[in-house]
Symmetry: none
Subunit: 399 residues, 2 copies
């Protein structure tokens, strides 16, 4: 069907806005109760829903809990299982590191360890980003024959390591034990293809621990998400779009770059994102506006704070609508119910609004209300197709 | 799944009627308003819906606007993207031209041109069909070495040309510039495989222009939709059916022939179609009844006239029901909202009625009402499968 869509592309200047409330889907705290979205006071979203087509989407498939990167790939029109992306790559792209084919990127946490090397804090007391940058610079002293090593700060205690050299691969297990009181695992190859990378990582860790020995609380490192750069055809190539990403968080810029989006570099908050959206309105035809904190508060298990984040997005909506997008999609990349403090596999409510849509019977934006929408539960990747259709970017199929 | 269905076929005498209101799906003229179907007074359709299973279907896929031929293929049980059909083929089959494998058919408009060959009217003042037939006969004088040429009238200014000979293909661009004030394009090959056909078409046009020189207002020709006969397995082969088409318009007879339907040759109107249906009731087990004018009035942008056409079909329903079909499907091949004056990608409402179905909660036939139907939004090709199931034409799968 991808080829069929490509054959029908008729790019035009009509504007599609994809507004993502990260981890939007939720759960009631008690039986018979309301979800975060249903509890939130969202007059603008409700008014939109009343004039929109609604439904729920499954980013990956039935029963599958999406990570952030594949959740977003689905919203960008890709079936995520066709394009596996490692966490390391997302992190590297998120900080604008210019990855090359063959590079292997790994997420690294600075952590704290006791005298026996057992992890006491997986986040090194959440050291600030400046401290992280200083440590990364110190780790620049690591030298491995035949492999270039790049260590870059991301945010707080999180960094990314990129290995460059022949024969490297993503076939290495995480060293992060995901627990305290135990030592990190040695880097182990998943398959023969991973041997050289595992050895490289082991040598990196050996030298790093020496350098960090006196740097408490950050005297240990944990690696996870060994990843190669995947080849993903761009949104331009697949859908004829000129897309722009307006995200605050690095990882979401990373996924956006993977699909060939232009990315606005430094954005502070929703207000700033929407200002920037308005300023670049004429230059693009697809705009991805990302709000992270609905997910963060869900992960915290803070139901009222997640409700408040949803209300913040609702409050900004009039400024987006003032731009008169031809198609506006509002949804999430997955569910993050505060009750679970984690991503979940529940389908995610969406609305698609615009002159071309045929409003259904849904009168408010919420999980339960959206089950009465025209679309039922559809694969996440279908949302972009609907948007292409309703913005007249696809020619008629056949005579 | 096609193979599975084939393995389960148990043909019987039970009757399936597929009643197609072409371009049925619509849009409200204003926010909060009703669509054409929702506005129409349709007591019989509403009563049917109340005892039926309802839903909406997507003939091709999310966001894709169907042409008439693929829209019908879906209703006949085929995934349209598996069987691309060129416009020329649809036109040739529509006039009963006996195409053979290897033939290339092209739609041709008679047009008007000025002294420099620039098109002044793409439809030659909409010359009547008799005039068109006379001109086609005159073009019978065209002789091309090694290629047989057939020129046949379709309707008004529209004709079809069939080239027969070795080495021909559909790999030729349209000559129709889709504009006035410019010359028609020369026939250009899309690929090497199209070279001979492009040369043949160029020679045909050269001779045709000589013959038509004095035939104002029809002194030019425009060609589009170069097409080869696709191989499509018949409905008999795939579904064990003995299907009959009852359509007034040539193109729909054409698509019906492509899937091996018998076609009633000369039908005037709905009344005549239903008479003919009754007369042939014993000879077939699948009946395709096609009403064109819902689409035509939608294309005209005439909302009330489309409503009136829907009401006409509603009024004829008792005569169809009097035949006691075992399964009756009522739907469209795509949406043609009067608001858009064109086909659109919106899903199309359907109902499936019969002794075997399990009525859902839908109480009237309309786009919004059908969103509450049991089936949600399904691929158009699934409707025929449901009909096979509810008419007991498929054996149990497995023990």
């Amino acid at each position: 069907m991808t080829k069929v869509i490509q054959g029908l592309l008729e790019p035009n200047e009509k504007k599609i806005v994809l507004l993502v409330l990260d981890g939007l889907g939720g759960l009631p705290l008690e039986a018979g109760g309301k979800t975060e979205l249903e509890s939130a006071r969202t007059p603008h979203l409700d008014a939109l829903a009343a004039g929109a087509e609604c439904g729920l989407h499954l980013p990956i498939g039935h029963g599958i809990t999406p990570g952030s990167a594949p959740g977003h790939l689905a919203l960008f029109g890709y079936q995520p299982t066709d394009y596996p992306i490692g966490r390391g790559v997302v992190a590297a792209l998120g900080i604008d590191f210019p990855m090359r084919a063959g590079d292997v990127a790994v997420r690294m946490n600075f952590a704290s360890a006791d005298g026996q090397g057992r992890i006491t804090d997986r986040r090194a007391g959440r050291i600030p980003t400046e401290k992280c940058a200083e440590l990364c610079e110190a780790l620049g002293a690591v030298k491995i024959p035949g492999v270039e090593v790049f260590v870059r700060p991301v945010k707080d205690y999180r960094a990314v390591v990129v290995f460059r050299g022949p024969g490297l691969s993503d076939q290495v297990h995480d060293t992060d034990p995901q627990a305290t009181g135990v030592k990190p695992r040695d880097p182990q190859a998943v398959s023969d293809r991973g041997k050289k990378t595992a050895e490289t990582a082991a040598e990196f860790i050996r030298q790093a621990l020496k350098i960090l020995a006196s740097r408490e609380p950050a005297n240990a490192v944990l690696m996870r998400g060994f990843a190669e750069l995947p080849h993903i055809p761009s949104m331009k190539e697949l859908f004829g779009l000129k897309p722009l990403a307006l995200a605050v968080y690095p990882d979401y810029k990373g996924v956006s770059r993977l699909v060939g989006m232009d990315v606005v570099p430094e954005l502070r908050d929703l207000e700033h994102q929407v200002e920037s959206l308005a300023a670049r309105w004429d230059k693009h035809d697809f705009f991805f506006v990302h709000h992270k904190y609905t997910d963060s508060r869900g992960e915290d298990g803070d139901f009222p704070a997640k409700v408040a984040e949803i209300e913040k997005v609702d409050a900004i909506l009039p400024k987006i609508l003032a731009l008169k997008p031809d198609v506006l999609i509002v949804t999430g990349d997955h569910s993050t119910p505060a009750l679970l403090k984690a991503h979940s596999s529940h389908p995610v409510p969406f609305l698609i609004h615009g002159r071309g849509v045929r409003p259904d019977a849904v009168r408010e934006f919420g999980e339960k209300a959206c089950t009465g929408g025209v679309w039922g539960v559809i694969p996440g990747a279908m949302l972009l197709r609907l948007a292409l259709g309703y913005s007249d970017k696809l020619a008629k199929y056949g005579a």
